[in-house]
C-alpha cells in the first residue's frame, strides 16, 4: 500500500450539525487502498497555515473512488474546508495510519463506540464488520449526526451529555443503563471516553481497540510529534512511545497508557 499526495475534486459539501460538516471527495489513488480507521491529511490553501489537517475517513467507496470525511470546524483551517464547494479541488495525502483490524471482530459480538468527532470513522468500520454489531454513539447535545447511517448497520444506542436524546451521560452510561453486552470493542473518541472504555473492557476481559488522536505534523511517522505512551518499549522508537500516525491511530487498549 503506497501513500499518495494528490489533488482531489470535491464532490459535495454539507453541514450535518452545528460545526460538523460532511465532504465527499473524488480521489484517483487513495480510496481504492483505504481501510476503515485510516485518515488523510488535508492541506489548506492559505500559505499562513502550512501543516496538514489529519481527518479520519468516514466512508470509503472503492469502486467509485470516493471518500467521505465528516469533520468538525475547530479552527481557521477546517473552516476553510467547510467553505469549499463542489467542483473545487483540495490537496490530500493518504491513506495514513493502520486502520481497524476488522478480522478481530469476525464472528464476535462487537461493540462499536464513537464519541463526538470520533463517531465518523466508526461508520465505515461498522459497515465492513461482519456479524452482530451494537453501536453506541455519544454526543454533547441534540446536535447529532450520522444517526440514520448507523441505524442502517446495526442496533444504535445514543447518549447525550445534556440528556436531550437517548441516555443522559456518556457512552458508558448508555452501555450500563441499557445493559449492552459484547465480546470486543472498537472505539474512537476523546481521551476521557477512551480511558473509561479501556477500564470497562479490562474489567470484563474484553478485547478493546482504541483509535487515538494527537497533534500531528508529517502524518507519516517521521517527525515524532504525535506519540502516545506505550506500556512496553516500542520496537521502533526503543522507548515507551508509539507514533499515532504510523503505528496507530488504532491500538489494542492494553498496548497504550492513556
Amino acid at each position: 500500500m503506497a501513500k499518495v499526495k494528490e489533488t482531489a475534486a470535491i464532490l459535495s459539501q454539507e453541514q450535518l450539525a452545528k460545526g460538523i460538516y460532511s465532504m465527499w471527495i473524488h480521489t484517483e489513488a487513495i480510496a481504492s487502498q483505504a481501510v476503515p480507521g485510516q485518515f488523510i491529511n488535508i492541506y489548506t490553501r492559505d500559505g499562513a497555515k502550512l501543516l496538514p489537517r489529519p481527518i479520519s475517513l468516514c466512508e470509503i467507496d472503492e469502486e467509485g473512488k470516493k471518500l467521505r470525511i465528516v469533520y468538525r470546524v475547530a479552527g481557521e483551517g477546517t473552516r476553510e474546508f467547510s467553505r469549499c464547494k463542489a467542483g473545487e479541488m483540495v490537496d490530500i495525502l493518504g491513506p495514513l495510519g493502520n486502520g481497524f483490524p476488522l478480522e478481530e471482530g469476525a464472528g464476535k459480538k462487537v461493540l462499536l463506540i464513537g464519541g463526538g468527532i470520533g463517531i465518523p470513522p466508526m461508520l465505515e468500520t461498522a459497515r465492513r464488520l461482519e456479524g452482530d454489531k451494537t453501536i453506541i454513539l455519544g454526543y454533547r447535545d441534540s446536535q447529532t449526526f450520522l444517526q440514520e447511517e448507523f441505524q442502517a448497520l446495526g442496533t444504535v444506542f445514543t447518549a447525550t451529555e445534556d440528556g436531550s436524546i437517548g441516555v443522559e451521560g456518556n457512552v458508558l452510561d448508555a452501555i450500563r443503563q441499557e445493559n449492552i453486552q459484547g465480546e470486543i470493542i472498537f472505539a474512537c473518541g476523546p481521551i476521557p471516553m477512551l480511558r473509561g472504555v479501556k477500564e470497562y473492557a479490562a474489567e470484563r476481559n474484553m478485547g478493546c481497540l482504541l483509535s487515538l488522536e494527537e497533534r500531528m505534523a508529517c502524518g507519516i511517522g517521521a517527525c515524532l510529534a504525535c506519540v502516545c505512551q506505550s506500556r512496553g518499549i516500542d520496537s521502533h522508537s526503543q522507548v515507551k512511545n508509539k507514533r499515532i500516525c504510523k503505528d496507530g491511530p488504532v491500538f489494542w487498549a492494553e498496548e497504550v497508557e492513556l
Partner: protein, 301 residues
C-alpha cells in the same frame, strides 16, 4: 553540461540538496515519496548514546507561516540506529550525514567514536536544540563552549564534522568563528528559533514544554541573514537552512554563501519538497546558462 556537485570537507555530494535533521526520520518514511538517490545527502534524526523518550505531548503547534516543535530529541539510541538505520540508507546512492546529540561532552564523544567505523560520510554535531534541558543549546550559546565541544568532537571523529549553530545568539559570527577555531570542517545553520504559543481560550501553553523551536518559511529571512554573516566571517563551507520550501528559497541561501542547503519543515507539508528543490535549481542554472553551481555560492555581496 550543468555541474551541481558540491564538496563538503572532501565529501562530494551529487547536488547541494539535503533535508534538515529531525524532519525526515532516517529516510525510510519519505522514501515512499522521494527517490533518496536524487538527494545530495540524507541527514538523520539526532541520535544519542542511549534511547531518549523526548518530551510530553503536545509536541508541536502551528504558527503563522511556520510551526513550533518541542520533540525533545526522541531517538532510539546509537545501537539500534547503527543496526537498522545506517544499513537502510546504505541501499541508496547518496551521502549519509548523522546528526549527533548528547547531554554531556562524553555523550557526544561516545556517539562520535561509535560512528567512526560506520559507513557514514559526515557527522553533524547538534549543539543547538532548544528543547532539551541539558546539552543541546546549552553548548551552542557560549563561544567558549562551542569551541570546546567542537574540539572534543573533532579529536574523536573519523569523519569530517559539521557544527550546527543556534540562531538564538546576539552575534552568529562569534559562534561560527568559535566553531572554526575548534576545528569544525563545516558549519550548518540555522537551527530553530525559540518561541512560544499560548492558547487564549484554554489559557495554557500550546506546547507541553512551554517553549519550542520555530521553523518554516516565517523564519527564512533570519536564516538567510545569518548565513550571509557567517559566510563573510569564516572560511568553512556552510549548509544553509531555515524555511526552505522551493528552489528560489534554496538559491537565496546559496547566493548568500551556502555551499549546500537543507529542506526542513517543508517536508511536513510537501513530502516531495526535497527533489522539487533539486529540479528547480537545475532549471534555474539552465535558464541562466550556468555551468557550475559553485559560481552561485556567495555570488550576492
Amino acid at each position: 553540461m550543468i555541474n551541481m556537485k558540491v564538496n563538503l570537507a572532501g565529501v562530494e555530494l551529487k547536488n547541494p540538496v539535503m533535508e534538515a535533521s529531525g524532519t525526515f526520520g532516517s529516510g525510510a518514511e519519505y522514501s515512499e515519496f522521494v527517490d533518496l538517490n536524487q538527494l545530495g545527502a540524507v541527514v538523520t534524526k539526532g541520535v544519542a548514546s542511549i534511547p531518549w523518550p523526548g518530551n510530553p505531548t503536545p509536541r508541536i503547534t502551528e504558527t503563522w507561516g511556520g510551526m513550533l516543535n518541542a520533540i525533545g530529541l526522541q531517538n532510539p539510541g546509537i545501537d539500534v540506529f547503527v543496526k537498522r538505520d545506517i544499513p537502510f540508507l546504505k541501499q541508496f546512492d547518496t551521502k549519509i550525514i548523522v546528526n549527533v546529540c548528547g547531554r554531556t561532552e562524553e555523550d557526544y564523544i561516545q556517539v562520535v567514536e561509535r560512528l567512526g567505523d560506520e559507513p557514514v560520510d559526515l557527522l553533524e554535531i547538534n549543539i543547538s536544540c532548544p528543547n532539551v534541558k541539558e546539552g543541546g543549546i546549552a553548548f551552542g550559546q557560549d563561544p567558549k563552549a562551542v569551541e570546546a565541544i567542537t574540539r572534543a568532537c573533532k579529536s574523536h571523529a573519523k569523519q569530517p564534522i559539521i557544527m550546527k549553530l543556534s540562531p538564538n545568539v546576539t552575534d552568529i559570527t562569534v559562534m561560527a568563528k568559535a566553531a572554526e577555531a575548534g576545528g569544525a570542517d563545516v558549519i550548518s545553520l540555522i537551527n530553530t528559533i525559540t518561541g512560544m504559543k499560548i492558547d487564549v481560550d484554554r489559557r495554557t501553553f500550546a506546547l507541553a514544554n512551554k517553549t519550542g523551536g520555530l521553523s518554516g518559511p516565517a523564519i527564512k529571512p533570519v536564516a538567510v541573514r545569518m548565513v550571509y554573516q557567517v559566510a563573510q566571517a569564516v572560511r568553512l563551507p556552510i549548509i544553509g537552512m531555515g524555511g526552505i520550501q522551493s528552489s528560489e528559497d534554496a538559491l537565496e541561501f546559496i547566493l548568500a554563501g551556502a555551499s549546500a542547503v537543507a529542506v526542513g519543515t517543508a517536508n511536513f507539508y510537501n513530502p516531495y519538497a526535497t527533489t522539487e528543490v533539486v529540479k528547480g535549481i537545475f532549471q534555474y542554472m539552465e535558464k541562466n546558462q550556468m555551468e557550475d553551481i559553485g559560481s552561485l555560492v556567495g555570488a550576492v555581496r
